[in-house]
């Protein structure tokens, strides 16, 4: 009996420079090495039945990528995770798998993505917080975005659900502004994601710097969660695998 699994994987520093297409190939080859009974499509050019939630752009690390895979036969979930991990290169790791009990394709499910953006800027937490709230108070934030028809202006404000400065020490602010090397500041942002209205974190930061005049070095961007929506609430792809 065929069985569909949904699994979560992470991508670390080691492989952050791979493109989405390169990641897909890594999975196909790892699956072939693993000997797991992956189901193939019918026809002249059989392909593995595996679908990824959201493309992962070059330069991004991630804690929470999701994919759905169809197996020819029933395999114990933890065996699946262990077996596939033995064939994955350093930098890609499967963390958990659940059985998918509906026909909702992971690609259509993804509606939101949470990012952790680390930068170096000569600001205090307080100053950064002011900048964020002034940025979010704008009703329209128009940037040039690549669309199917080429570059065109898009209002990204509706695609930003939240943006917060992460205060590392409770109560105390980082060094005062004007520090020579700047301070390490982290932002948490929940953005619209998926086939429609996808906002990339690097594009958000471009717009943020353009609108606020902030001068910052983006050091790293990590995707920390992917979400779908059920009855107006954010749910992880695992939470909706059952029904």
């Amino acid at each position: 009996m065929a069985k569909t699994l949904r699994f979560r994987f992470s991508r670390g520093q080691e492989l952050k420079y791979l493109s989405h297409l390169e990641i897909l190939r890594v999975f196909e080859r790892a699956l072939r090495r693993s000997g797991l009974p992956v189901e193939y499509s019918q026809g002249f050019n059989p392909r593995m039945k595996i679908v990824f939630g959201l493309p992962i752009s070059t330069g991004l690390t991630s804690d929470a990528e999701y994919a759905d895979i169809v197996l020819e036969k029933d395999i114990d979930l933890s065996t699946f995770v262990e077996t596939l991990n033995e064939s994955m290169p350093l930098g890609l790791k499967i963390h958990e798998a659940v059985e998918l009990k509906n026909k909702n394709n992971i690609m259509n499910e993804i509606k939101g993505a949470r990012y952790n953006i680390t930068m170096r800027a000569s600001l205090t937490y307080g100053e950064m917080e002011d900048m964020v709230s002034s940025f979010l108070s704008k009703e329209e934030l128009t940037v040039m975005k690549k669309t199917k028809k080429g570059m065109s202006p898009v209002n990204i404000r509706p695609m930003i659900y939240s943006m917060n400065v992460i205060r590392k020490d409770t109560g105390r602010d980082v060094n005062s502004s004007g520090h020579e090397d700047g301070n390490i500041i982290e932002l948490d942002a929940l953005l619209s994601a998926g086939a429609q209205d996808n906002l990339r974190a690097d594009l958000l930061m471009e717009a943020f710097m353009e609108y606020t005049g902030l001068k910052a070095d983006i050091l790293s961007i990590n995707r920390s969660a992917l979400y779908t929506i059920r009855s107006n609430e954010w749910k992880t792809p695992f939470e909706v695998a059952n029904g």
């Binding site: 492989l15 420079y17 390169e22 080859r29 072939r32 090495r33 070059t58 290169p89 930098g91």
Partner: protein, 617 residues
């Protein structure tokens, strides 16, 4: 020192995964646990270098040793080189991000002459003095292997030593010698003296070259005792006795040959007179059927690759091809792996085979008649007749192919305009000959011409290359004739200027090294890539060095002349090559090695086909 790279560099270059390693099957070792650190360098882009079988073999052989760590480096693409130079980051290996200058041995593979400028550039980027004589105690030894070492002279100034021939065994001997030298605590030069005793090693600084007034070579002589007068090419007598890699590195970035390469045999029985590979890899030695089948299976399991390709100079000449193909087809179908069969001669057997191989795109078939008339094909000993070709193409069209590519060379010895016309006429004949077949009217033919470049250790090693102007005229003439002949024929041709440069370095002597150095200083690199080839800079370099490229490329050399590579012994005798050259002029062909032994000289190795073919005179 471990090189640190950041997003600012890597997110600003194309395909950054070429520069970060960590591929599946990359070998991980602690550099502190090994006695010898070896950097294997490929002087071209990652996508080319990672397609090279020789590198995979030697990476595997070296890393099997507990005392050695072999790592990889490639020529960074122009965008990455700019970043490295801007940030003063030395060229590093992908395994441990170690600068090249920190290695014990830095080894390059010489696959084609037009990568020579990249070698100098990589050394410079790796913070290693480009000139061998400027390397001091404690600096790496820079060595080279690969087909171009059969004439190492243009690179004599840049390498500490060359390794002539196949590397599986000799590489181990060099590593052993290095360890002994290190243990003895000797000076740099003593290591060179030690390796000079290994058969197949050539230390250029141990030889002096003298010249005649007319610029030809007067003598090549060892300048110290115990150094061989002739350096003999090394070969592996029995391929089944040496390791062939199954744990091949699987790149993330798509490469040119992104698949398992299964080497059927080395050498070629055919003896086409223009083809260097046909002579410098003799004799033919096959890997056994059982060995190949096991290798294919374990390579699929260990890499997860979706394709296997058979590799050799002429797949059809493998003695157990039908058995091997049947077994491979059965195995690959079960694994959903596809099988590629390049270099097949087209006949009923191979057509049937291609039909059986699951994933064939019936888009294009390639033939290489190499010359437009039977007379010239006899001159070059290309055993293919017009009738063969007509039959093959008709068979192909009947089998469903409608795009056929034909390769030719221009500027071959004895060529006349009749032979050039013959190229167009052959294409036109094929178009007409297939008209009566179903779908025959949809046949498209692409004719491609390259420029003949005479190479060392071929019967044409004494021949002049055709002048650039002549070649260009012939190209225009052919273009015109094809245009008038048929609308279903497309014509492509190679840049004659690049071929001329290739001709200089293929048969150059030590003095041409100065030109290479000057051209590199002027910024020449990636010469094999059209978009970076700067012919004018090269011509300036020749002029500044007072060297006439025509002396090397376009001059007819006398049989009696001492050739720059005369101190290299690849096993094929000069007497045989001269005889083949004379036969060429008379239009006489020579039988292939399976049909009859022609006593080329490699019988001395007592290996492969030489131990089987009966000799009749």
């Amino acid at each position: 020192m471990r090189i640190e790279l950041n997003d600012k560099i890597l997110l600003d270059v194309k395909k950054p995964a070429k520069y970060t390693g960590n591929e599946w099957n990359m070998v991980r070792k602690n550099p502190e646990d090994v006695a010898v650190r070896f950097a294997f360098c490929f002087p071209d882009d990652y996508e080319i270098g990672m397609s090279h079988l020789g590198m995979k073999i030697l990476y595997h052989i070296l890393n099997k040793r507990d005392d050695t760590y072999c790592e990889r480096a490639f020529a960074p693409w122009i965008d990455m080189e700019d970043k490295l130079r801007e940030n003063n980051i030395p060229l590093y290996t992908l395994e441990t991000y170690t600068p090249l200058c920190e290695f014990d041995i830095v080894g390059f593979t010489l696959q084609y002459e037009m990568s020579y400028s990249n070698i100098l550039n990589m050394l410079d980027l790796g913070k290693i003095p480009v000139l061998a004589k400027e390397r001091k105690e404690g600096m790496p030894f820079v060595i080279a292997g690969g087909p171009c070492t059969v004439n190492p002279e243009p690179l004599a100034d840049f390498f500490d030593f060359f390794v002539i021939g196949e590397g599986e065994e000799i590489t181990n001997e060099i590593i052993d010698a290095y360890k002994e030298w290190k243990k003895a605590g000797e000076k740099r030069e003593k290591f060179l003296e030690r390796v000079a005793l290994i058969e197949g090693v050539y230390v250029p600084s141990f030889y002096d070259v003298e010249y005649n007034d007319d610029g030809t070579i007067k003598s090549i002589t060892p300048n110290r005792e115990n150094v061989p007068g002739k350096i003999k090419r090394r070969i592996i007598n029995n391929l089944d006795t040496v390791d062939f890699p199954d744990e091949i590195i699987v790149p993330f970035v798509g490469t040119v040959h992104d698949r398992i390469m299964l080497e059927l045999f080395r050498g070629c029985i055919r003896g086409c007179r223009f083809c260097q590979a046909g002579f410098i890899y003799r004799p033919v030695r096959e890997r056994s059927y059982d060995n190949l089948l096991d290798l294919a299976k374990s390579a699929v399991e260990k890499t997860g690759y979706e394709e296997i390709s058979l590799v050799s100079l002429s797949t059809s000449d493998y003695s157990q091809l039908p058995e091997l193909c049947n077994a491979l087809i059965e195995y690959t179908e079960g694994q959903k792996v596809s099988l590629a069969l390049p270099s097949l001669r087209l006949d009923n057997f191979s057509l049937g085979l291609m039909d059986k191989v699951s994933k064939v795109r019936k888009s294009g078939l390639t033939f290489a008649p190499e010359a437009g008339t039977q007379r010239l094909r006899d001159v070059i000993n290309k055993g293919i007749t017009e009738e063969d070709l007509l039959n093959s193409v008709r068979m192909a069209v009947e089998g469903g192919w409608n795009n056929v590519k034909l390769y030719f060379m221009m500027g071959l010895p004895t060529e006349t305009m009749e032979d050039i016309d013959g190229i167009a006429d052959l294409g036109i004949k094929l178009i007409h000959a297939c008209r009566d077949l179903p779908h025959g009217k949809t046949l498209n033919i692409t004719l491609s011409t390259s420029c003949f470049v005479p190479k060392p250790f071929t019967p044409f090693q004494w021949e002049p290359m055709d002048e650039i102007d002549n070649l260009m005229q012939k190209q225009y003439h052919l273009k015109d004739r094809i245009k008038k002949g048929s609308r279903r024929i497309t014509y492509n041709y190679h840049e004659a200027k690049l071929s001329m440069l290739e001709a200089v370095f293929a048969r150059g002597d030590r003095r041409t090294g100065k030109v290479l150095y000057t051209a590199w200083k002027k910024g020449c690199k990636f010469d094999g890539w059209d978009e970076y080839f700067e012919f004018d800079k090269w011509m300036e370099a020749f002029e500044e060095c007072g060297i006439d490229p025509k002396f090397y490329a376009n001059r007819k050399r006398a049989f009696t002349e001492i050739l720059p590579w005369d101190h290299i012994n690849i096993g094929v005798s000069k007497r045989f090559l001269k005889n083949e050259c004379e036969k060429a002029y008379m239009g006489e062909t020579t039988e292939n090695c399976t049909a009859n032994c022609s006593f080329c000289g490699v019988q001395g190795y007592k290996a492969g086909i030489c131990t089987r073919t009966k000799r009749s005179v």
